[in-house]
């Protein structure tokens, strides 16, 4: 189905769906209006961001990661061992400890360490929280209106990010940092803030965000079943662009990740093995 046909079919469907499921008359009305001119262009862009680009960016992410890992695996081995002493009794365990507990940071920068651990642990929960929205993978009870952590995971990734950003402004880290360091942090900060708005709205306000977790569940369901349906039909309300921007920022992150220092996610274990083995 072309994007054009999809969008048209869905605008019709969305009117019916909205009338059936939404109690908020204004939201229902806003998606029922047939768009023309500039609004129609925006609809198309929204659709491209919300559906095809999701697949494209995830594919780019996976291909990029594999490519980076393979490049390194195919290089010659180092000419001599790079280990440090005293040697650990079990190099593999020691490297695992380095990767997940970062004892060096705990020792030399305890405050930074607390934020790093909080951030990284919350990031894992954030991934789980998104998987939970896919109906087939549900982790929380079916009727839950909260995202995993009920908004706390969002706080736990956003606050450390602010800390990471602020500490970079102080010397000597400021002199050491390059533009990509700030841009990466800003990208993530905005990505999280848009996510926070939706998740905090649903968990922390009496009537919830305009789009409910159930609504997002339908969107994820469509994505996971490759229906290519326009999510506008299941995501009602005038705040749709918050979701679109959140998704666009996530896609940017996926595409950039293989080129960025976030590759440390995959390199941390092998690189720590070098000093331990």
């Amino acid at each position: 189905m072309s994007a054009q046909a999809g969008a048209d079919a869905v605008s019709a469907a969305s009117a019916a769906a909205a009338a059936a499921t939404t109690t908020d008359a204004t939201s229902a009305a806003s998606s029922a209006v047939a768009h023309t001119g500039f609004a129609l262009v925006v609809d198309h862009i929204d659709y491209i961001i919300m559906v095809p680009l999701v697949y494209v960016s995830i594919l780019a992410l996976l291909v990029g990661i594999v490519w980076r890992v393979v490049t390194i695996m195919r290089s010659a081995p180092p000419p001599y061992p790079l280990r440090l002493y005293p040697a650990a009794r079990n190099a593999g365990l020691a490297a695992l400890g380095d990767t997940f507990a970062m004892p060096q940071v705990r020792r030399h920068r305890p405050v930074f360490w607390v934020f790093l651990m909080l951030y990284h642990a919350a990031f894992i929960l954030l991934i789980l929280g998104h998987l939970d929205i896919i109906p087939q993978l549900r982790l929380l009870p079916a009727g839950s209106r909260h995202m995993l952590g009920a908004g706390a995971v969002g706080v736990a990734v956003t606050l450390p990010l602010l800390f990471f950003l602020l500490r970079r402004l102080r010397s000597p880290l400021r002199e050491i940092s390059v533009p990509s360091d700030y841009l990466l942090l800003l990208l993530l900060l905005f990505l999280f803030l848009f996510g926070d708005m939706m998740s905090w709205g649903n968990s922390w306000s009496p009537n919830g965000f305009v789009m409910t977790k159930q609504a997002f569940s339908k969107y994820f369901d469509g994505l996971s079943r490759l229906t290519f349906a326009d999510p506008r039909a299941v995501l009602p309300g005038s705040h749709y662009h918050f979701a679109v921007i959140h998704v666009l920022l996530a896609e940017s992150f996926f595409v950039l990740l293989p080129f960025s220092k976030i590759m440390h996610t995959f390199f941390s274990m092998p690189i720590n093995l070098l000093r331990r083995r």
Binding site: Y80, D98, V178, M263, F267, L274
Partner: protein, 414 residues
């Protein structure tokens, strides 16, 4: 800079891109945890003297020539193009780093700044901008193996002349007091140019009744300072071939950190064991082959762990074991062992002179020495010994700087 040269430099860079190097260049989060690890930064707080600051110079060249990012958005990583100004930065980074790898123990990923600096040094050699003295010394070491047959008789005679001084430390030394390249020995001892590196060691090995012989070569590996792995192999190869020819079981390396690490870890596998001389002393004590009297040392003793022997070589407890036999009046430097501050003289800086920089960049070392309140500081590395001696003088610390082997030889129970 001419395009041809920068092309050559790019190729040189590429030859260094093994898997570990790629991991090191790709992974740094610029988190800054390594900042305080470096004694140079701790003594002179400037970003260019941090481990990450140094590595970034190379990383920015890497991005420019080997990464998509450097081609489509060079400003993202503030990439550097290979030109004269960049080469000045490369030189500044490389020759202000002693290769102590203390930063590697701070980094959450364990990034090896010394290894990254080996690219810097390779580029400097490629651009003909390296300190010529080190290259000259490395070349001389290699050339020495070619003319060795002519110099050997003179060397042997000079060594034989040391007999009285060795007998002064260990009177029961049997004739011949020293042999050079004698077949049938168990241990090949590789010394340095000065007789101070031979006399105490000879007395100790004679006291232990060791079947040992002296190498005609010097242990020091100047190419390791240069990060020139090919020459480093050639220099080590001379000793390797000598040891194989003499069929020794063990090669004992004089108190020289770089010589030890280069021989033991950086130049492939050998059919013989490689030990640092302090390990040999520790073994003699354990086996009861030598006894030391505790009365010889006056005043509190401390010990400086040489980076290339301790953190990078794994010889951490043997020196303490030896010291327990020497004196009860011992204090540790703080920090010590793998965490010890570098003396500030490694990476070829002592050989190059660099006195002003060495004194300024090792202020924290001098403070650490002073805080120990020890009267004597011992160590097991020629480079460290020279640097500690200079620091002692420059900062007016009033300490005595000694080789561990010298203290042991003086304390041999006759």
């Amino acid at each position: 800079m001419e395009a041809a040269i920068s092309g050559t430099l790019k190729q040189l860079f590429e030859t260094r891109l093994h898997s570990a190097m790629r991991l090191y260049l790709d992974t740094c989060a610029r988190c800054g945890v390594c900042v305080e690890a470096c004694h140079v930064y701790a003594s002179m707080p400037q970003a260019r003297y941090t481990a990450v600051g140094r590595a970034e110079v190379i990383r920015k060249i890497f991005k420019r020539y080997f990464k998509l990012e450097g081609k489509i958005a060079p400003w993202l990583g503030e990439v550097l193009t290979l030109d004269d100004a960049t080469m000045d930065q490369v030189s500044d980074a490389a020759w202000s780093c002693t290769g102590c790898r203390r930063c590697m123990t701070f980094c959450p990923f364990g990034i090896d700044t010394q290894l990254i600096m080996s690219i810097a040094k390779a580029l400097l050699i490629g651009a003909d901008k390296e300190p010529k003295l080190l290259t000259m010394l490395a070349d001389m070491s290699i050339a020495k193996s070619e003319g060795i047959e002519e110099t050997k008789p003179g060397f042997t005679r000079a060594v034989e002349d040391l007999a009285p001084e060795i007998r002064a430390l260990w009177p029961h030394s049997k004739d011949p007091v020293v042999t050079v390249e004698a077949e049938g020995a168990d241990v090949l001892y590789v010394a340095l140019a000065g007789k101070h590196s031979i006399i105490p060691a000879a007395a100790i090995m004679n006291a232990a009744g060791e079947r040992w012989t002296l190498s005609v070569y010097e242990a020091v590996n100047f190419a390791a300072f240069l990060g020139d792995s090919k020459k480093m192999q050639l220099i080590a190869r001379r000793i390797h071939d000598e040891a194989v020819r003499l069929k020794v079981k063990e090669v004992a390396i004089v108190e020289c950190g770089t010589a030890f690490r280069a021989m033991k870890y950086m130049t492939g596998v050998h059919p013989f064991k490689v030990v640092a001389f302090v390990q040999l002393i520790s073994r003699y004590l354990r086996e009861g082959r030598i006894q030391l009297s505790k009365g010889t040392l006056k005043g509190t003793l401390t010990y400086h762990d040489p980076c290339q022997i301790a953190r990078n070589g794994g010889v951490l407890e043997e020196p303490r074991h030896v010291i327990r036999h020497l004196t009860a009046d011992f204090v540790e430097l703080r920090p010590n062992r793998a965490d010890n501050w570098c003396c500030g003289g490694g990476g070829g800086l002592v050989a190059l002179g660099e006195s002003d920089f060495r004194m300024k960049s090792a202020r924290v070392k001098a403070e650490q020495m002073k805080a120990s309140q020890a009267a004597i500081i011992s160590t097991a590395c020629e480079n460290c010994h020279s640097q500690l001696t200079d620091l002692n003088e420059h900062y007016g610390l009033g300490m005595k700087v000694e080789f561990l082997s010298k203290l042991v030889a003086d304390a041999l129970m006759k």
